[in-house]
């Protein structure tokens, strides 16, 4: 048994380093950019009128639709459509790109809701305090609201990232030989699918645990300004 585990480890780790981790990291980075953008579109209520305000309403409609569609359909299907479906309308993406796009859009949809609710949870008073000092809306967002929202958003976003790491296993359906697929291929030879599954589960657990530790470290750091009771 140990022999099987050890002999399969190098291929699994290679797949992890080559696909699982880069996929998760890159997709999460892009996902967060999307999430912040969408969260702001839904959160802000800029004082504009005329055409601009119609445009903003449209933007918000698109954002709502995007969040709805990506949260209410299975990720597997999303990947499938992006990779196998888009070519039929002339958009052909390499597998890795397609995977990054799919995972980013999915993470972006979930993340945007998390970020929006964190923004909303920062007291309205903080906005008043900033405005009275002359801060503009973007300045207030960036210097006052976002740092406070960050602390709130960290635990749920970390969970989403951990979820994403595990979800990368779905990339196998769009021809990416990530860790999970490699484990299946090895199992085809040694006929120990269960053992291979446990092994790959352990590797995921390992990754996720490292991430959790990192999350706690970040949480502690980011909450350094909440020393007393807070108030």
């Amino acid at each position: 048994m140990w022999e099987i585990i050890i002999s399969s480890l190098p291929s699994l780790i290679e797949a992890m380093l080559k696909y699982t981790i880069p996929l998760a990291l890159i997709s999460f980075a892009f996902g967060m950019i999307i999430a912040i953008g969408v969260a702001l579109i839904k959160f802000l209520n800029p004082k504009i009128n005329g055409l601009l305000s119609i445009f903003w309403k449209l933007l918000r409609l698109v954002a709502n639709f995007y969040v709805w569609i990506f949260r209410s359909t299975p990720l597997l299907v999303q990947l499938f459509i992006i990779f196998f479906g888009l070519p039929s309308i002339g958009i052909k993406l390499p597998p890795f790109t397609a995977a990054v796009i799919g995972f980013s859009l999915n993470t972006g949809a979930y993340g945007s809701e998390t970020i929006r609710s964190a923004l909303m949870s920062v007291s309205k008073d903080q906005w008043d305090a900033a405005y009275t000092l002359g801060f503009s809306t973007p300045q207030t967002l960036w210097r006052i609201i976002m740092p406070q929202a960050f602390r709130i958003v960290l635990p749920p976003l970390s969970n989403e990232f951990i979820g994403l790491v595990k979800d990368t296993s779905l990339a196998s359906t769009i021809t990416i030989a990530e860790m999970f697929q490699v484990s299946q291929q090895i199992a085809a030879q040694n006929f120990q699918p269960l053992l291979m599954y446990v092994e790959v589960a352990a590797l995921y657990a390992f990754l996720c645990t490292i991430l959790s530790v990192l999350q706690h470290y970040l949480e502690n750091r980011s909450s350094k300004f909440i020393k007393g009771d807070g108030n």
Binding site: E14, F83, F84, T175, Q181, A187, P193
Partner: protein, 238 residues
């Protein structure tokens, strides 16, 4: 499906081959490398066509979708010719003839294909085995891989599995004391499946080149050699 020339492959000079890579002895991973009968055969075929082989592995569910979207040029994945598939896709010349068998426990009440009626039978979702199991009046139950099918029989979750004899023979090599055996299915019930490379309908030029290469491999004994290497017998003919 809007390529410039019909014979053009996904990448010029490269034959991109789609397969699952999770089905021994056809294709699987050993010591970190993809290997197996179909892997070696596809490599040799590409060489004979003057092209570089490139393998793309994907799940069974998306194997056909990948062909539709030109993610690869051809599938070498124990793909059996049947009329439905032929309507949609183009098959090259068969390289082996795979015999479906009924795998059961030695003491099973299932003595032949007729006993399969009404029984639950393990097979991959939407595979030929799945269709064959249905054809014989049994209820197919989805199984993700070969070993799992065997486990399901052993655990009594299904009474049998329909799968290729070669796969079972290969598996038996590493499970000598197994309690499982197989029963053949008469050819008039389920014909031996002609296994061939499968590609898009519009890849006729590619098909021509591939057929030439396959003919050559037949002539110089490559296919036979690989068959014996991986299956222990020659299954290159009907």
């Amino acid at each position: 499906a809007c390529g410039k020339s019909q014979s053009e492959t996904k990448t010029p000079g490269t034959l991109t081959i789609g397969l699952e890579g999770t089905y021994a002895p056809y294709a699987y991973r050993k010591d970190g490398k993809l290997t197996g009968f179909e892997v070696e055969l596809a490599k040799d075929t590409a060489k004979k066509m003057g092209m570089k082989p490139k393998f793309v592995t994907t799940g069974w569910d998306s194997l056909i979708a990948g062909l539709n979207s030109n993610s690869y040029d051809v599938i070498f994945n124990n793909m059996a010719e049947n009329s439905k598939r032929k309507k949609q896709f183009r098959f090259s010349k068969p390289y082996v003839y795979s015999k479906s068998v009924i795998i059961t426990k030695k003491d099973s009440k299932i003595k032949n294909y007729k006993d399969l009626k009404g029984q639950e039978v393990a097979a991959g979702t939407g595979t030929d085995n799945w269709n064959n199991a249905k054809k014989m009046g049994s209820t197919p139950v989805s199984s993700p891989d070969f070993q799992t099918s065997m486990n399901m029989i052993n655990q009594g979750r299904v009474s049998a599995a329909v799968n290729s004899r070669e796969a079972f023979e290969y598996w038996k090599k590493s499970h000598k004391d197994t309690d499982l055996t197989y029963k053949t299915i008469p050819n008039n019930v389920i014909k031996p499946d002609a296994i061939a490379p499968m590609m898009n309908k519009n890849s006729s030029a590619l098909n021509k080149k591939m057929n030439k290469a396959l003919d050559e491999e037949r002539r110089d004994g490559t296919i036979k050699r690989l068959s014996i290497k991986y299956f222990g017998t020659d299954i290159t003919n009907k």
